[in-house]
Assembly symmetry: C2
Homo-oligomer: 467 residues x 2
């Protein structure tokens, strides 16, 4: 048995890729990824048409996809997140069929249940052996966790591992094991390390961000959830990281040992692990070099698959045990519905990622956002797009006050008792509009360019083209 | 979400077990296992009938199964190995339907392909957390690897974890993750540590065994396979272990570093790892305390699932990369077919386990067996039962000479050149019979009591009742 093939092209041919089929990619190499473009170029040169691309996320490094769309090679896209450059093109309607947005939990759920079958999965592997055992932890392109690739590996009809770091068999400490892998290809480089992980993610120094972060930490402190066994997820944005820093100080001062930090892991979460704030980290994706080093060396820092992270088709996922998550928003409406798919002008520039999944699972889902950005208020009557339904959002933290979802009667009282600046979300909206003026609602097009598919596979909202 | 239930009975009820369904068990607790009996007693008391038991292996600790068979609770059995006490009862025909024997690779293959669906899988877990993340490495009932339980966990309709060591969430270093687990039950003890793993497995001191072991090591040394990257599996029998010891000395003397040791892992394989004979151990089951300690503490010693170990339905399994395996036999015929299911009287007292799988995968499959046991010759015209087909067996090592399967022309020459006592298997048979006399072939019954299902799901042979 020999799985090693000479080129990506040969692997594609051996996998039997044909017109109309679906290929899949994971996004741990983020904006440094070379693999998706290399593969799609080969597919184009082989003359394949009408290919559906199921990617866990797409970044602007993947702009060449637009050529493949124009040439009819790619006619369908599913992703959990699409960055602004590509997003703008999709908002302008370059793809005939609507883009399918899923969540980091909904994607593996749909894959595992057979709703979105994958013909050929491509695994970008920073380390692999000739039988396909592979890991993200080792090599020049190390990205840490390969969490989003597990469902693809386990359920795709054919699985191709692409590596720039072929190791002798058996690769020690594999993530995805050989029993799922059909072919292995070596290339010079699977990615640009500078784009894969940032050297360090930075805490905000912006005074507005620091005020929000301080509020956020106080909300957690007084939520009733901050006690031994506490679990926590936060994003990699500057204010979220600052909130984590403040939270760490509180936990250390109060000698609280949490159970786990979850996510998308940054060096700040590693700091919290090392300081004893958590017993463990559960990691579906590493955001920076410190996280990669930690998952490689520290057995308390554990890789999880996207199925274990967030899939509603799993018997349980880690998000179901999560106490607090801090999330972002481009818009939030007075019903607490959150938009993270488009900017306020309606252009696609993001996606749910794990937003909806963690919001649904966590006991306390908190949005941190400034009252306005570029003179556009965050709080609106109705979000352009419902990325996460308001029923799953508990608190909005801004520099101008903290709005609690009215369903949380007890939490509201707790935070008021703690002297925090609680404000009705409609008042917050009015207060903001007194500064920014009331923005005119932009006219939207009449063509659906994206479907927002909720984590339970339901059509949650649609995104229209931008005029 | 709460997966903790008060009792095994409640878990069975919540899992919806009904008459005619299939339950499954893994055998890492071996002859110390309490779980299968506890579960089957509850099933019996609930009044269920016509249950099919799919166990990776059955030991004499499971003799109470015979009562459940007598009472109609259990009407079907599949196992990869059945020890002598239970085996005798099956050979006498206590079960109406034939027992289905599978292999350690064929079992997960049939499960993963849907040929043998499991309604409720029971995972005996030496450590587990309340969401079902579980491990065999920790706790008073530690057994090391949980390799055989993975397919059950991944493919059963309902999965129940039974533990005597509930740990806080998340359990660090889990083997089977929460996303597969429906319910968790705690009990006082899942097994008797004395029966789970032996304190130490012992090298033979028997002179015949030592001669065979020395021959075996020499065969490997001169096979052309013993070079850097060499990989090896051996059983836990005294002569096999002695062969490993001799092989270790040769490897150290020649400064050969192998790639991996595979199996069922004993302390002797751990010694070889620690001495630098292998880079890694790949472990589907631990046989002794030293192996358990090693898999717990040494990252070079890695757990593998039975799918990764040996399943022909996997895109590859570790057995496909195996150089040499040393195996046992109760009988071998002049076509090199091997019997490990019955003794020479026809009574069931074993099973393939990984015999057929490793023999099919390894470049060199070697049987070590004495020329005769209790005056019954090992070599026979035709084995009572074909456990592993002769095409997959390369060499038979006895104290009276080494028989090479005639298909191996080059190997025969290599071993002759090395001065090893090569003998035709028919001559070996005659030579043995000159000592023992020619045994009378026992009359067999006319009722099929067991089907030997090959690793590729084909009916390979049947076993008749003993008169």
């Amino acid at each position: 048995m020999n799985k090693m093939v000479k080129s990506i092209r040969e692997a594609i041919q051996l996998a039997g890729l044909k017109d109309g089929m679906t290929v899949s990619f994971h996004h741990h190499l983020r904006n440094g990824d070379f693999v998706l473009n290399m593969v799609m170029n080969e597919i184009a040169e082989l003359g394949c048409k009408d290919i559906f691309v199921n990617a866990s996320s797409l970044f602007d490094v993947h702009m060449p996809l637009l050529d493949h769309i124009e040439n009819g090679v790619v006619t369908g896209i599913s992703a959990d997140y699409i960055s602004a450059g590509l997003g703008r093109a999709f908002s302008q309607g370059v793809l005939e069929k609507p883009v399918q947005f899923r969540t980091h939990g909904g994607r593996p759920s749909d894959i595992s249940q057979g709703n979105t079958p994958i013909d050929v999965a491509f695994i970008a592997a920073p380390a692999a052996d000739p039988m396909g055992n592979c890991s993200g932890k080792y090599g020049k392109s190390a990205c840490g966790s390969l969490g989003y690739a597990f469902a693809d590996a386990m359920f795709a009809k054919k699985v191709i591992v692409i590596t720039d770091n072929l190791m002798p068999y058996p690769l020690q400490d594999w993530s995805i094991s050989e029993d799922w892998v059909d072919f292995v290809v070596t290339v010079d480089a699977i990615g640009n390390p500078k784009g894969i992980v940032s050297g360090t993610t930075q805490i905000t120094r912006d005074p507005v961000g620091l005020v929000m972060a301080a509020h956020a930490a106080k909300v957690i402190e007084h939520s009733g959830l901050l006690k031994d066994g506490f679990s926590f997820q936060t994003g990699a944005g500057g204010a979220s990281l600052a909130a984590a820093k403040f939270l760490k100080d509180i936990m250390l001062e109060k000698k609280i040992q949490g159970s786990f930090g979850l996510g998308g892991i940054t060096g700040y979460m590693v700091d919290m692990l090392q300081a004893g704030c958590f017993r463990n980290l559960m990691d579906v994706q590493c955001f920076d070099l410190k996280a990669v080093e930690s998952i490689r060396n520290d057995p308390r820092h554990m890789e999880i698959s996207a199925m274990q992270y967030a899939s509603p088709a799993s018997r349980s996922a880690v998000v179901d045990s999560l106490d607090v998550v801090i999330l972002g928003a481009t818009e939030i409406d007075t019903d607490f519905n959150v938009n993270v798919h488009t900017d306020s002008n309606g252009y696609i520039m993001g996606g749910s990622g794990g937003h909806s999944d963690t919001a649904a699972g966590a006991k306390l889902s908190m949005i941190i956002a400034p009252m306005f950005r570029a003179r556009l208020p965050i709080v609106t009557d109705k979000v352009t797009c419902v990325s996460t339904p308001g029923k799953d959002i508990d608190v909005l933290v801004t520099q101008g006050g903290i709005a609690v979802n009215p369903k949380n009667v007890e939490l509201t009282q707790r935070l008021k008792d703690a002297g925090l600046p609680i404000v009705d979300i409609r008042e917050l909206k009015e207060k903001t509009e007194r500064i920014t003026g009331t923005p005119q609602r932009l006219p939207k097009g009449d063509r659906v360019v994206a479907e927002v598919i909720g984590r339970n596979s339901q059509l949650q909202d649609v995104i229209y083209n931008v005029l």
